[in-house]
Symmetry: C2
Subunit: 355 residues, 2 copies
């Protein structure tokens, strides 16, 4: 595969824009490992990022792997210790501890707010905006997407728990101070939900990415809703393509936005060996389940050091964009470690899509 | 484990009540392998079973395994041939052909109507009521549940396809002659959906059994709906129990019915080595997500030859019951091959539940 992204996309020269060192740990016993995959919106004139902050438990002994998670029965965070030399456990993927009995995550994620006037220099809150709080969120809350409808910001996110798997939950806010949880909106395993910002023919829509264990599928689907809480009429939308940049799996990434040519979705695709890039797909204005066009070369793929190396390298992944003055402003997680920024003209995307 | 079901349950003396030989194949090139896991209701005074009929493609050469499925692009059934001696393929489970590229089912299921005046002697339709018809149903439609609400029968069923995994679809009928498809109501993998027969505090409810690939979960959940089409507020209800008859996995089986002590669900539990039995769970009348009691010994488990031996032996599985005159009339699939019948007084179930 030798697909060169010839698109004219401009990375910010001082990337990355936010790194783990910029974020204060939420607890003294935690260390910030990653700040990435932020939800994006404008709030009170600022660019507001809802950062995913992944923290590990500090271990002073290299032979002891500490795993933090939220114990919903106790109502507090607990830390379990694992012996790195225990041959029964698998530590080969930096993100997991796989024991014979249970899968653990080596970090637990929460959400933190960052604000910027110029879109690249951010002031980051000292304290979390949302932290794990129930049995669905024991292993953390991840990858938020923000959709503004009316005066309410709808935030959906992946909730991870060994009891309930990977579900998607909804929360709402009007002020980014208080957040109201609205429960689980998609059953496990389903994540990468992107809610459209307006009704289409009287219905709300959301892209989603259910996983079929039995048939080994991880594809993009679309769902409809009367109220944003209950979802149905699920339809299969698109899948990985052989011999393309997205031959491993695909999922929705950014909240879609409207253009004169259709709904535009910036989605993520991975190769079979887990290189994550971003591409675009264009969807019918009246029936967004219909795909009009799709990137045959990615609009951005891992090339810079901060994209190639990190907690989980070779990854560009995003949860939102701003579409302003015909520019797509992409805030993305790089190497599952830092936040970076790039921008691209909408016409470049249309050229990339051949429309 | 030595749990003897001491409950007084009465199997019909001439079980099984329907066998594959009683069912006419839907096509000349097909053979009926199994008739099981029927949806159950009363219609025009009769007991009506919506049978799941699983058919294989007839092979005259033992070295050739023929796999039938519905090709939605062609709009017709096709048959693929596999060499039984091909070491790349796995034929060890009678239900599957596992090739390196794809998982196939060795049979394809449709629905057939059977009617009875006395509840045990059935007249079976010559032709199918519903057959696979779209991309979600390529590998068949399975395990229907029937819920009567108002004058409409709501039929939900598992739709199997290598493209879309295991989804649950909804169809409606008023006459059991024409069936209107209402689309996918739960994303993959999710099956064993049981819709409650009435609204509770203004909302419809359904038990369901999503599968988490990542965290290896297969548990009972509950969902709410304003319209039976869109579902949300998903909540985790109950899981397998160590050292019990349901220590492998659990799922909802029969459409729940109301008693003075709560909503009663006849659910299936499997041991870790795939012995499927039925038990009962009692749920709060106002909040059916709350479990009041649960069988510590099954109400029925595989003991008879027709339950122990068959296409997939050691299985009792049901999709519906009739609750009439304080009797629970259980129509169940046995050994994934035949339909059988048993009945039990509600008081026996309450005793079993200790309520």
């Amino acid at each position: 595969m030798n697909q060169k992204a010839k698109i004219n996309i401009k990375r910010y020269e001082n990337n990355p824009i936010i790194t783990p060192g910029d974020v204060k740990p939420s607890r003294p016993e935690f260390k910030v490992e990653c700040v990435f995959n932020a939800g994006v919106t404008r709030f009170e004139g600022d660019v507001l990022l809802l950062l995913r902050v992944a923290e590990s438990a500090i271990s002073n002994d290299k032979q002891v792997v500490k795993v933090p998670y939220y114990d919903y029965m106790k109502g507090e965070f607990v830390i379990e210790n694992f012996d790195r030399n225990d041959p029964a456990n698998d530590y080969s993927d930096s993100r997991y501890v796989k024991t014979p009995k249970r899968l653990y995550l080596t970090s637990v994620s929460h959400f933190r707010i960052a604000r910027s006037k110029d879109g690249v220099n951010f002031v980051i809150d000292e304290k979390p905006a949302m932290v794990p709080a129930n049995e669905y969120e024991m292993y953390g809350i991840e990858d938020p997407r923000i959709t503004l409808i009316g005066d309410t910001y709808y935030i959906n996110y992946s909730s991870i728990s060994y009891i309930t798997g990977v579900t998607t939950c909804l929360a709402t806010t009007k002020d980014f101070k208080t957040f109201e949880r609205k429960g689980v909106i998609f059953t496990p395993d389903n994540k990468d939900i992107c809610i459209f910002p307006e009704k289409i023919n009287g219905k709300y829509y959301a892209f989603n990415r259910p996983a079929s264990a039995e048939y080994n599928r991880r594809d993009m689907w679309i769902a409809e809703s009367p109220d944003l809480l209950c979802w149905g009429n699920h339809r299969y939308v698109m899948t990985a393509r052989d011999d393309m940049w997205d031959n491993g799996r695909v999922g929705c990434s950014a909240v879609p936005f409207k253009t004169e040519k259709g709904w535009l979705e910036i989605y993520h695709g991975a190769t079979k060996d887990n290189c994550y890039s971003l591409g675009a797909s264009l969807h019918d204005l009246n029936d967004p389940g219909k795909v009009i066009a799709r990137s045959t070369v990615p609009i951005i793929k891992p090339e810079e050091d901060y994209e190639l190396y990190g907690f989980f390298g070779n990854v560009i992944f995003n949860c939102g964009v701003l579409f302003e003055n015909n520019k797509i402003k992409i805030y993305y997680g790089a190497a599952d470690t830092v936040m970076a920024y790039a921008e691209v003209d909408i016409d470049e995307i249309f050229k990339n899509l051949g429309v």
